[in-house]
Each structure stands twice: as C-alpha cells, then as structure tokens.
Symmetry: none
Subunit: 240 residues, 4 copies
Amino acid sequence: MAKKAPEARKSRAAAAKKSRPLARARVARQAGAAGEAAPVRPGREARSAERREVILTAALDEFAERGFGSARLDDVAKRAGIAKGTIYLYFRDKETLFQELLREMLTPIIGGFEALGQTDIPARQLAEHMRDVFVHEVFETRRKDVIRLMIAEGRRFPKIAEFYHREVLSRIFEALRVILKRAARRGEVPEALVEFPHLLAAPGLLAIVWTGLFGNVSPLDVRKMMQTHIDILFAPRSKS
Amino acid sequence: MAKKAPEARKSRAAAAKKSRPLARARVARQAGAAGEAAPVRPGREARSAERREVILTAALDEFAERGFGSARLDDVAKRAGIAKGTIYLYFRDKETLFQELLREMLTPIIGGFEALGQTDIPARQLAEHMRDVFVHEVFETRRKDVIRLMIAEGRRFPKIAEFYHREVLSRIFEALRVILKRAARRGEVPEALVEFPHLLAAPGLLAIVWTGLFGNVSPLDVRKMMQTHIDILFAPRSKS
Amino acid sequence: MAKKAPEARKSRAAAAKKSRPLARARVARQAGAAGEAAPVRPGREARSAERREVILTAALDEFAERGFGSARLDDVAKRAGIAKGTIYLYFRDKETLFQELLREMLTPIIGGFEALGQTDIPARQLAEHMRDVFVHEVFETRRKDVIRLMIAEGRRFPKIAEFYHREVLSRIFEALRVILKRAARRGEVPEALVEFPHLLAAPGLLAIVWTGLFGNVSPLDVRKMMQTHIDILFAPRSKS
Amino acid sequence: MAKKAPEARKSRAAAAKKSRPLARARVARQAGAAGEAAPVRPGREARSAERREVILTAALDEFAERGFGSARLDDVAKRAGIAKGTIYLYFRDKETLFQELLREMLTPIIGGFEALGQTDIPARQLAEHMRDVFVHEVFETRRKDVIRLMIAEGRRFPKIAEFYHREVLSRIFEALRVILKRAARRGEVPEALVEFPHLLAAPGLLAIVWTGLFGNVSPLDVRKMMQTHIDILFAPRSKS
DNA sequence: CATGAATGAGACTTCATTCAT
DNA sequence: TATGAATGAAGTCTCATTCAT
C-alpha cells in the first residue's frame, strides 16, 4: 500500500525541523571555519542540516522555474546532487517541502524592521534605507524568487499566506504606521499615507513581478524607480 | 504534462484558432440577439464559438484555483459541462489552452487606452478615470484572475509574457508617457514620474496580489488606496 | 500532487459498483448468446462489466499467487490484457480492488444453502450433498483460491471478514444447526454436534489449506476424506 | 522487494545461520542461569543469539499483522529496539528472515510427539492429551501466529512448506497412524480414520483460522469443540 | 461534432538494502 | 558489532492525450 496515510507516519523530517537544524548548521559551519577544536569533517547534525539546506535551495530553483505543480522532485534531487529518496528523509512530501521552503526563507526578512519603529531618524531617510535593504537583501537575492513563489502559489496554501501575513507583513506594516504617523505629524508625508503603508511596498512588488515577466524585454532600473517614488512621497507640499 | 504531443501535427483546434473564432462568435451572437434572419438554433459557427468560450471560462476557473501544472483538464471539462475529449476539438493541448486563455482574455483590456493619449483632459481626472476602469473592469471581474495567472505562470510562457508586454503594457505605458509629459510640463505631476509610469500601475498590481493572498484575513479598500495614491501623486507641490 | 486525498475524489468505479454491473454483465452476455435482437458487438455497459470481470479474474490470480502486499497491479493489468491505468477506471485503488474481489466472489456461494433447512431429507444424505457441492463448486473452482485469500489476508481486512461471516457463514451455520438438531433428535448424529457445526466444515477447510501448501508433495483425496468424516459422524452409535 | 540482492553473495548472517546460533544461545543462557563460571555480562555468542531471537520475535509480530509483502523491516527493527541495518547482520534479507522465522519457530512443536507412538496408553486418552498440548502450547501461544503465517504465505515459499511437511507433519502423522491403527484394532476408532489422521487435526486448524478471522465477532470455545470432536470420534459404535 | 473509455508515460512515494562512521 | 543516513529500484496512482463509437 504505497501511497496511503500520508498523515499518519511521522518522518524524521518532522523531528529534524523542530530542532531548527538550520540555525545549528550555521553555528556548526562557523565553528568549522574557525577551526577551534572542530572536527575537520562536519558532524552528523551539521551534515544533516547542510543537506536540508541543499535540498531547499534546489527546490527553490525548481519551484521558481516551473511552479509547484509542474516541478518534479526528481529534478530537485538531481539538482541537489542526492538520490530521490533522500528528500523524504527531510520532508514528508512535496507539499511539505514547498511549505517549509516558503516558511523558512520568508521569515528572516523581518529582521530589524521592528526595531525601526523605535528610532527617530527622518522618515525619508528611513525609506531610503528600506529601499536599499529591499534591493540588496531581496531583489538581488534568491529571496526575490521566494516572494515570487509566494505570489504565484500562495492562494493554494492559505496557511502559508496567513502565516506570512501574520508573522511578516503585519509586523512590518505596524512598524511603518508608527513611523508614518510621526512623519505625517511633522508634515513629511501626507496624512493619508498612514492608512496605506501598502503604497510604500507597491513599487517593490511591481519590481519583482515586472522583472520576472518582462525583465529581458524591458529592463527596469528598480533603484531609480523606488527613488522616484520616494521623491514623490516625501516631496515638500504646499499645504498638506 | 504527460505524453508530449509531437510538435508537428496540428489539430483542427489549431486551425480554428487562427480564424479567430472568438471574433466570429461575437458577431454571431449579436446577430442572434438582433434576430435578423437568424435561425432559432444558433448556427454551427456560433455554437462552436460558444463552446470555445465555455471551455475558456471553465479553464480560467481551474487554472486560477490550482495553477497550470496542478489543474486537470478533466475538471475543466466537468466544469464546462462537456466531455474531456471535446476540449481537444478546440485546443491542441493543455498548454495551448492555457496560452490562448491568457492571450484572448488579456487583450480586450487595451480598449480605449490608446485613445486617451489624444485627449486633453487634466491628468488627474484621467488618472481617476483609469482607476475606475481598473476597479470595475479588472478588479471586480474575472480579468483580475487572468492577471493573477499571468503573474503566477508568466515566467514559464515567455512568449505570452512578451506578447502581453508588446500588445498591452507597452502601448498603455506609451500613452501614459505622453499624458504624463504634458502633465509634468503643466506642473501637475513631478517630472520624474514620466520615466516610470510603472508607479501608476503599482497599486493596482498590489491590490490584485494582496487580495488574492490576504483578502480574507486583511481586506483592502482598493478604491480608497488608489485614490490616496492619486492624491499624493497629484498633490500641489512647493517648487519642483 | 499525485497521491493525495485518496478518499476525496470518487472514481467512476464507485458508481459502477453500486449498479452491480456484474449482474448486468451476465444478462447482457446471455442476451448476446441468445442473439435475440442483440447487437453483434456488446454494448458499452456489457463491455464495461466484462472488463471489470476480466480485471477481477486477473487480480485473483495475482493475489492468490503472491498475496495482497506482494502482488503488483502492473501484473494484474498485464494478465488482464489492459493498460495499467484502466484498472483505476473500475476500482479506486489496490485495496478496493482486493476487497471487492473477495466480496463479490465470496457471496454467490450462499446459494441454496439456506433452503436446505426447510427440506426433510436425512441429514446424512444432506451432508453428502454438501460434500459434493463443496468439492465441485468450491474445491475444484477458483472459489477455492478466494477462500484461501480470505484465510490468508482476512485479518487485515476486518470489514471483509465480518461481512463474510455475517452474510455467508452465519447463515449457513444457522441452517446447519436446524438440520443437525432434527437429526440429533432422530439419533442420526450426536447431540453435541449441534453446538459445533464448525466440525462439519473443518475437513473442507483443511482440504483447501492442505492442498494449497502440500498438494504436490502429499496429495489428498478430499472426497474420500470428507466421506470418511461423514461416515464417522453419522455412524450408528451404541447409546447416544 | 526492491533491489534483489545477487543470489551469490552470502552475508555473515547466512554463515551465522548455518552454525545454528539458536542452539548455542540456549546452551549459553543455561550456562548463565547455572552461573558456572559465566561472566556477569553475557558473552558475545549469547548476546548475539539473544539479539537474533529479539529480531525474530519482532518479525513475527509484524509479519503476522501485515503479511510478508506488506511488513516493513523498518518496523521490525523499531519493534526490536535496534537499528535497521542490524537486521542484516543476522539475516541475509527479508525473505531469509521470514523463512528462518517459520523454520525455527515451527520446529520445536514436534517435541515428544514421535515418542507417543511407543507408548501404549488408550488412544482417546492420547487424543485428549494432544488436545491439551495444542491448546496450551499452540493455540494460546505465539505459535498460533506462526502457523497462521505458514497458512497465509506458505504457497510462495514451497521450500518452507515442504520442510514443514517433511520435518513436522509427516512425522506426527506417522506416529498418529501407528496409534490409530492400534486403536482401530481394539475398536476404539473406526478403521477408516487410520488413512486420514488429517481429520484429527482439522478442528485445530479451524480453530486457528476461525479465531483469526472471526474471533471477536463470533468467539469459539476451542477446547470444548475439540472435546466434542473427540467424543464423536471415540464414541462406542454399534458394530464397527 | 461529441463522447468517454482506454492508454501509458511519468509523477510521487516507499522501502529493502548498503555502507561510511 | 551496531548504526541510521543514503540509495534507487520498483510500486501505486494520475492525467494528458487518443480514438472507436
């Protein structure tokens, strides 16, 4: 009875996930790099975490290229340089692989955003900082592909979408609202913007979508576009 | 995608496509509606075109819900109320069906946009008109799903993406540039905006993506957001 | 998502089952044989039922030879002379195929047994009749293999076992008890036998198991053994 | 059964088998129990034999529950509390494990049976003794499961079946024939029974099969049934 | 034109077996 | 010896596509 009861049995993957091997892996590798009493060959845990990451990376490539439904785990394995079956030591099934891919590669972005609400730098300066972070940490990274995936397939994985909204977007937006409110009080931005931090994010979204679809036929200077947008938003205005 | 059909053989569906049955269908139905010498039972061509459209509509539903790779033609047929084989009388294969779906349901939007460049109404008024058109003709329509599909799967169908860019976007953007240039000269919008009509479209894109992913957990007043954006873009500014 | 949600979708097989195509198939084929206004080529329904039966027969062969777990549907298809996928037009999955195989090929045995309770022939004569029925209708038939399968795999399909017990065995045993009681009153059989009709069936069971395991190394004259058993059970006894 | 190992290569497990570690194990443990110069920690051989037995026990559980084809060595290992690979230190492969399981757990039953032919106790008394042995040593033991396994899977392992017949059944039956012949001469049992000692065994077989399949829906008083059978067989009869 | 049964390539997943540690 | 991660052959099941009716 090959394909039955996918819910029932718990693969080791589940356990592995809970111990956050990703984090440990990084530590382990750093230790290895530092060479302090670290074994030349990485330990089992480290190797396991490394494998996991290799698979996730390969999966991102394949999913980004063909979409969830059309991607083949066979190709993921090939790209990761492992055997087909190995994937199943780390992930229960294709869907789980996909979901953990999104979940884990999406989370780290939150990073320092929340702290930003505390600072008191001018909003414009902050916006320009965010623009840089976006360009360097997202747009020029694989994270861009993760977001593309989220956009493309998110509807069929409402759990993931909700998670992303709750854990990432709503937090960022909350921080943004604080900042924008202060800026609006100072007259730096129009009052109305406070209600729609979305507008700050819109060009970034467009950048990702546009370059994905028309990048080679009609390239886009993302940084400049975002700068233009900032210039408009923060332009000194007559009254308010 | 099992069983790749030899690229060579062209089914009748392909031939049918070239004669643009959609156009014919419209004519036929109008004739029927007008009742001028039209047979009670719609003619063959009309019925054929109707079928085609039924299939396309059903296909849009399925593709939008599950993505290209995961959608099943079986379900498309069921939803369209026809037999599976019938699809192949109208479309060469799944991929062709998908491409024609995008191609045909995307085109009509261009509509009167190009004419807009000619008029001389104030840019702001025009922007507000465009906003209404977007909300009513796209956002509140199935077209929203077509665009979503384009965003989600476009990368794997570069021909379609290119087509869309060439036939739709570049034309609209060209018209927009003309308008924006005029408006900038009048000081209605910042000069820099001329280079990036994308910024005008960004909120619309965000609206589609956002509601698709987070619509039920965090609804968005699209019209108001777009109005806010327009207010900011066209705000009277100090110098500039 | 290939192997997901086996419970969700209902294949046509389920519907087909409910209309008992087996019965219809027989009728159809008889009509065909009789030739009365019957089409030379069997109709769709008939062909479908025929197919179903072909699959069941092939399945019985494979399951009997290798057991449920080790049998390959691929081989079933090959043996049935059809494509692998065709099986799934008639049965939801391997397990369903197996269960319906048992269920349908086990039922017909009940046949006239229940009527036997009504008759008034001497118990011994009846026992000998049953012996003949067993030998000719079960032991020398494919039904023997079905029972073997039931014995071998029944534990893992409690539903089937229960069904078999309820629909077949308990009825036969009930009829037997009636007969035995009457016979015991006449002194034909020992009173104690009434409580254990199982003892009447035991040699039949042994025959099936024995020939399956040791048939070629140590053949068994089943008829004679059963006759011997009857002779002993119905032997005229001293007192009671 | 994936990856058929080349028949040629013999693992250490195979070698171990030939030296009959089971026998050695018993000796070792007895020595341990007696405490004569036995190390506190059981010796290598003893531990090895113990492991072997642990594996066999776990294997019996799994095979009995799911059948040979559906049982997973992974589960056997888990149940035995060892690693998967360890199984292969003791058994060449799954099939070998299964065969040795049957072979070794089936053999011991022969026990004193052969000696019985020599004694001169009345046949009825002997039959009742056998009944007790069966109930206590087989029916109420794991051996019942071994026999069930034999019945269920024996056809696909003719070697095992033949072995079992040769080493166990034929011997028992031979002893029985001697006893029955003597009993028949004394008029204790009908002459015809001599040819079919099977009939003596049939109720036992039925008991095992019946309780396996219908035990919970229709329990069976095995001892009483067997007693009834004995009463009938040995009932004093009119003439012969 | 339309149907839907049939096909079979190919996807996902399992699991017996191996092997570096 | 013992381990359990890794392998990959092979099994189950799906679904795009064909074709006889």
